[in-house]
Amino acid sequence: MKYLYTARSVAAETFRESVKNRFFTVFAVFAACAIYASLLAGVMAIEEEARVLSDLGFGLMELMTLAYALFHAAMAIPREMETKAIYLVFSRPVSRPAYMLGKAAGLYLLGAFMLAVMAAIHLSLLSLRGFPPCAAYFNIVACIWLKIVIIISLALFISLFSTSPVSTMVISAVIWTLGHFTPEARFLIEKAGGFSGALLKGAAWMIPDLQLYNLRDAPLSASGGWFQVFYAALWALAAYGASVLLFRKKEF
């Protein structure tokens, strides 16, 4: 019970700190980009305006949420260690697993909040242009969030042993891009054999399959379901477990 209470306090504080940090500039930038894109799309796409507007909106939502959440995930713990704010935390009866859980939960909440607000802006824009949202709209946004959850969890883990927040962000971004290549990687692995095939197979296991969450790219018949949630939970739990293992003996 105390564990959850502590985690909740850390999560709320993490969310609050991230939100106060030039937060709303991000939304203003999103809204400006979305409006500009809609004007361009209107001129250039004409008959495909709805599609272009939708795709641009989803793409922007995902990239901006990813960039912002990744920035905070990379900085969350190293910054507290650097500024020694962490002294004020661990000189108190705060368990390290609870702290890690709180940090992760606060960042997941940040991602969800950002996506919710940007989705509202996006839907308003679509509505203003007279286009209804696609049937899978909320599934698509939910899958974007699950993708962000996986990458944030990994970023938090990487930040514990990485030399700087920049390298954490770079490594996480590389995992992000590789995660979209997983289906293609599987195709290559099937073709490759011998030692290189085994090596590729091993490497493929270490990268989460983010293409599973790309509903915005998938055919309309596909939809998010229990498997996506289970897979994201698996990766988030694994990253959390690894983080706790690494963090438990850390000295400040």
Binding site: I46, E47, L56, P183, Q211, F227
Partner: protein, 232 residues
């Protein structure tokens, strides 16, 4: 140790349960206009659809740009994209097929782009073979897509110069809400050519109501007035 084993086991199970990729492999993406880096971005950001949209805009701009053939007079270019589907749209446009195929390889589910490209190739550029090749390529990933099958049939009949038959075959396509306006324009033209003025008028009225492109809407207005006069 227990956690690591558990995770590995669950990951192994999940890897067996994962659905296969709905997209063709990266090797299906042939480079066009030095697109290698863009294609890498499309794949690595999981943004195939978005990049397919951008390539489609480029295709329309390409097709909408007048081809400069030596000796011909310069025509004033009014718009930035294609307004074909009438008896305009003829030309060489050598990159058209490559661009269309690129879009289909990026996003095989971008039906309207395939229909637009196939329609332009078959009925404007007079390259039914390439149109059929494009549709067959798209059907590999979407074998149940009836719109592609209808287009293939229409292309088949167009070779035998039966405008009425072609118009009849593509009629179900034209009734779809998201049918490319170029195909609607084509269908109206074929009906008019075959003497089915009422059917042509219905399609022109639909274009007038649903299209945002002023070139098509103005042309539809003009055609409707002509048909009205003829029917009186």
């Amino acid at each position: 140790m227990a956690g690591a084993l558990g995770f590995t086991g669950l990951l192994f199970f999940s890897s067996r349960s994962r659905p296969a990729s709905p997209f063709p492999p990266p090797s299906a993406l042939r480079e066009v206009r030095h697109s290698a880096i863009e294609d890498m971005l499309a794949l690595s950001l999981g943004a195939r659809r978005l990049f397919a949209d951008l390539w489609f805009i480029r295709l329309m701009q390409y097709y909408g740009t007048h081809e400069h053939i030596a000796g011909e007079e310069e025509e004033e270019e009014e718009h930035g994209h294609s307004h074909h589907g009438l008896d305009f749209g003829a030309g060489n446009y050598p990159e058209f097929m490559a661009l269309s195929r690129h879009i289909a390889a990026l996003d095989p589910y971008f039906k309207n782009a395939v229909l637009y490209s196939a329609g332009s190739l078959a009925f404007n550029l007079n390259r039914p073979g390439e149109a059929a090749e494009l549709l067959n390529y798209a059907l590999v990933n979407t074998p149940r897509e009836w719109k592609f099958l209808i287009m293939l049939t229409a292309i088949g009949y167009s070779k035998s110069s039966e405008p009425a038959k072609v118009a009849q075959i593509i009629a179900p396509l034209v009734r779809e809400r998201d049918c490319p306006v170029m195909l609607k324009q084509l269908a109206a033209f074929l009906n008019k050519k075959a003497g089915n003025y009422e059917a042509a008028a219905v399609i022109y009225a639909d274009i007038l109501q649903t299209s945002k492109d002023p070139f098509y809407t103005l042309n539809s207005e003009k055609e409707l007035k002509m048909i009205e006069k003829r029917l009186k």
